[in-house]
Symmetry: C5
Subunit: 95 residues, 5 copies
């Protein structure tokens, strides 16, 4: 899984019918401190995540192992919202 920060949303009228009603959020990968880096990607939100949240995203077929994403043409899902991280024995991020 990747640590990622939610930075925005995408809105689409024309889409695969299995995506109707799905929330597609824009994220950037982040490190254990919550610092974002790299180019944006998009994942289905199943947890009502908000802008600025630090989350975990599962990719590939792992992104379809939820009731909401099963059998849909998607490859990434937000499967956890991070409360905090611990690294090197210290709290590295606190949500």
């Amino acid at each position: 899984m990747l640590i990622a920060k939610v930075i925005g949303t995408t809105i689409s009228t024309i889409k695969d019918e299995k995506l109707v009603g799905r929330k597609l959020l824009i994220l950037r990968q982040a490190d254990e401190t919550g610092a974002a880096f790299g180019k944006p990607y998009v994942a289905v939100d199943t947890l009502d995540a908000g802008i600025g949240d630090l989350v975990l995203t599962a990719h590939g077929s792992g992104g379809r192992q939820t009731d909401i994403t099963k059998n849909s043409p998607v490859d990434a899902v937000i499967m956890a919202i991070i409360d905090h991280t611990v690294a090197d024995g210290k709290v590295a991020y606190q949500g």
Copy 2:
């Protein structure tokens, strides 16, 4: 999923029989503002996307979760055409 801009098409006479009649578009990854970057890749179009459209592409087995791509030797599909994106509380792209 990746945000991507449609930049062209590929035409093939010799191809796997499951690809007959499929539209294979060339895309470049893009950020939330629609700015393209990086090297081109190819995805099956199931939504009648046009050159210049900003779209979302699902990769891997996710690219075969549509009626058109099911059981085909493909690894990417256009599954949404983006109307607009919102990032940092502002409209970042408007189609």
Copy 3:
């Protein structure tokens, strides 16, 4: 899928039994003009592609969605030979 140029072949005596008789070609990724870049990779050829051909390769489980590669320990297949590409309204590559 990736656009790729066929640059060579690999010959193996010791291999998984499901690969006996399979043609394993060496490719380099290419852009829409046919210009190759990056490091080589290997894909199963199901279309009798030749050295110098510009092709499309499907990766991951998509590489096993053909009669020839089904259930084999492979992760990439040549599933189309490109005749020509069009980008920005012009022919970008002509085979």
Copy 4:
């Protein structure tokens, strides 16, 4: 599989129900000597790995081929804790 060093943990209250009780560790990829590099990623721990351990992680659907991760929205699992590595005929890492 990737060689990786365990550097921390993530704690989440809001998560997919299949992740309840799962330990999600933060890792950085490492080379055969145990030197870490690159950005962090997260994998499910099924072996009671500890901070500082050098481990192997399996990715993609391979990450779900354990009793603990089966059918869960995850894409990486720790499936071995490395005792030592040998490279170029010498012990390169000793845990």
Copy 5:
């Protein structure tokens, strides 16, 4: 598939039970001449490959399409040992 050179081995006492008795080799990706580059990764050996051998590795679910790796938490397998490669009409590597 990737061309790769076998550079070492990993030894693990604590591992998923499906990996007992499996040989996990350390490899580095190589080009068509056999020159290695990049960071090491690990694959299951099913062909009794030796240190220094140039091999092909299949990744993702492709890594589990052998009798030895089926249903195991692995994502890469050595599925061919390369005798020689031909590129640009010449032998580029001879094992």
